[in-house]
Symmetry: C2
Subunit: 105 residues, 2 copies
């Protein structure tokens, strides 16, 4: 099983992080990861009624920008927010995102 690549904190770029967050479904996934903790890919596919392949693409965008980290357990991938890294590099960003009403996504 290939371990997914995560950019180190010093390589996080604001434009990439904001691009990753510039999609309503990715914002919904981020909120869900942040509030409900680790889940597998299929969960978001059911919860938000989007194709599993689309969820995988969103997850990849979020991981490559540095917003989430992926933990591999057997054949399953679990996701969590890189809260500490994001708060250090872009203070206030995740707080603002999570405080925003999904109606305004």
């Amino acid at each position: 099983m290939r371990i997914p690549n995560h950019p180190p904190i010093e390589n996080l770029q604001l434009s990439k992080v904001l691009h990753a967050l510039s999609d309503p479904n990715r914002l919904r996934i981020v909120r869900s990861i942040a509030t409900k903790g680790e889940e597998v890919c299929t969960y978001y596919s059911y919860e938000f009624n989007i194709a599993k392949s689309t969820v995988s693409h969103h997850i990849k965008t979020l991981r490559e920008s540095g917003i989430i980290k992926v933990r591999v357990e057997g054949s399953q991938h679990f996701y969590s927010i890189r809260t500490e890294d994001l708060n250090k590099k872009f203070p206030g960003l995740m707080e603002m995102v999570l405080a925003t009403d999904p109606e305004s996504y």
Copy 2:
């Protein structure tokens, strides 16, 4: 002279605002508008060495998302940040953006 359209605060969407900010040159333009005050389009073209048509495109993206407002005076357009609206709708966003070192754009 057509007066540029500005979305009202209740229509501002987080995904659109973050998309508008997800480009290093647009981040540079926003920082410049926020720190140096109103300037005309040509100024950013010179300051950041990007084509005037590209600056116009960036300005349009920033205006349509609700980040900047445009004031028309004769044949010239002047730009400013919609700080009050953004702070009300997405508290902490502009502060985080302006606190970020351009090296991390």
